[in-house]
Symmetry: C2
Subunit: 301 residues, 2 copies
């Protein structure tokens, strides 16, 4: 099971009580922070997400509404005497900004801090339970989307049946990986006689800020949950294109083309007070859509 918590969903300027973009994806052991607008450390506290559980932070691009809360979070972690490693992924230009701010405040982070610059599409993080890839999206400045995939889970052994077939415990790891067992008499015990498959790996894709780009559908094909921005309602398609953003209908179209299970939409322009029209318009194209509303937890799985 994965849980995605929305910490903020607004674009550009804070408005109508909506915070800038930030999300947390959690499994049993790990928490992945995706973007980190100003005030994210308050939002983590409000929604009871432990800062110490966050092992990886992914910054899509260097517009302020996606990263101005990062330096505060990183330094607070140090003041709270964090000991765990922290891995940060973002455009290369992010590193000197952080270093400079640490330097002028004579701050040395008390925990191991690793910066990983994003330079090309592909696998960027390989954790205990998750593989994370990045992919370039088309925005006004360099911008990256992220694809989170659970690792393939080992098959579960049925201990009664394994014992009945007299399979030694030393072979259990191979059983979990799907191998058949051959006993001393040369008889093949098919793997599925003694194991059961676990649920297939779950996946989440975060498309960051992007112009309408149908080629994204291939990258996020079949994910369990897709986040796609809808900065504007459908009547502002030209403005969306001019500013390298998307409308409701365009987001729905990507979800439909990609055959995802569920779509969530966010990055709403500060000009809109009411968000219901976003939901209605996007659902007219892709019914399994929800608003990425602050504080909502989307359970994947």
């Amino acid at each position: 099971m994965l849980v995605l918590t929305i910490l903020g969903n607004n674009s550009a300027i804070p408005a109508f009580g909506r915070n800038p973009t930030s999300q947390v994806l959690q499994n049993q052991e790990e928490a992945f922070l995706i973007d980190c607008g100003e005030g994210t450390q308050w939002q983590l506290a409000r929604y009871k997400i432990k800062r110490s559980k966050i092992s990886h932070i992914f910054i899509s691009h260097l517009h302020g509404d996606h990263y101005f809360g990062l330096i505060g979070l990183i330094t607070s972690m140090s003041m709270l005497n964090r000991i765990q490693d922290l891995h940060l992924y973002g455009p290369p230009e992010l590193e000197p900004i952080i270093r400079m701010q640490l330097e002028v405040s004579a701050t040395t982070l008390c925990y191991p801090f690793h910066f990983h610059p994003l330079t090309k599409d592909g696998l960027i993080a390989d954790t205990k339970r998750m593989e994370v890839s990045c992919f370039k999206v088309k925005h006004r400045i360099d911008c990256w989307g992220f694809l989170f995939k659970e690792k393939k889970k080992p098959r579960s052994i049925d201990p009664e049946r394994a014992k009945a077939y007299e399979i030694p415990a030393s072979f259990y790891e191979q059983l979990q990986n799907g191998q058949d067992y051959i006993n001393k008499k040369g008889t093949i015990i098919p793997n599925d006689e003694v194991t059961i498959a676990n649920a297939p790996p779950l996946s989440y894709a975060y498309c960051a800020d992007t112009i309408y780009d149908p080629s994204l559908a291939e990258i996020v094909r079949g994910v369990d949950l897709l986040y796609h921005e809808t900065t504007y309602l459908k009547d502002l398609e030209q403005r969306a294109a001019d500013r390298y953003h998307c409308t409701t209908l365009q987001a729905g179209d990507i979800a439909l083309k990609a055959g995802v299970r569920k779509l969530i939409i966010g990055h709403f322009s500060s000009k809109y007070e009411q968000l219901d029209p976003f939901l209605e318009e996007t659902r007219s194209v892709f019914p399994h859509t929800e608003l990425a509303q602050e504080g909502v937890c989307f359970v994947i799985g």
Copy 2:
């Protein structure tokens, strides 16, 4: 009349719903923002202070709890199509941090933005109604306090009396500046016969983050309102000194030595949930003390 609004009073890490340091000092026409911790733009909105009225921002030093909200505020002002000039005062190292963050987001501020590096004690801003000086305080990194003084107000003319003495309107400005009038017969009309003095100029001193330093008393002597930090209660005097901060008793002592009218205290350590002990301890030395509590407006005058 001057009004000081407290937007945040906490040190280091946000805690117990308290925000990091920021204050706004306002007269009829101008608003001066003093320090700008993360989330200050939300606090300005919450307390209905118009961003467009802020003409000058003063940053005491480059610890994050005093300036991490600055870049967000500056860029939001641009997204809101500000037209007024903005003057920013702070340590020289602040400028490249801002420039770099504007550059990586391909942002050009749409309004005239002027950075003024703080390098030595003295007058730094001379506005329509206010003179602002900076003074170095002793902290772990370079740090500045600020002294705000209203300009001397012209005397008010009593039009009935001025007319009775047949003083021409062309001499009114000189009257306002305190000059006596000599009429055609050579008779001296003493200035105070036809004018009345306005209230004396008001003053506010902001001592930023500082170790206990009795020499500050001379700099802030006689101000109407003094803000002095009290990061710790009196029992942690040694820790305060080690970290270049002050206790309650030390702040009270400075206020007493300086003969100020009123003292406000803030920059409370995140270790304290209750603030009442800060007030009690400081008042034991200097009775005219108040907590710099978020949202409170202190009226000076």
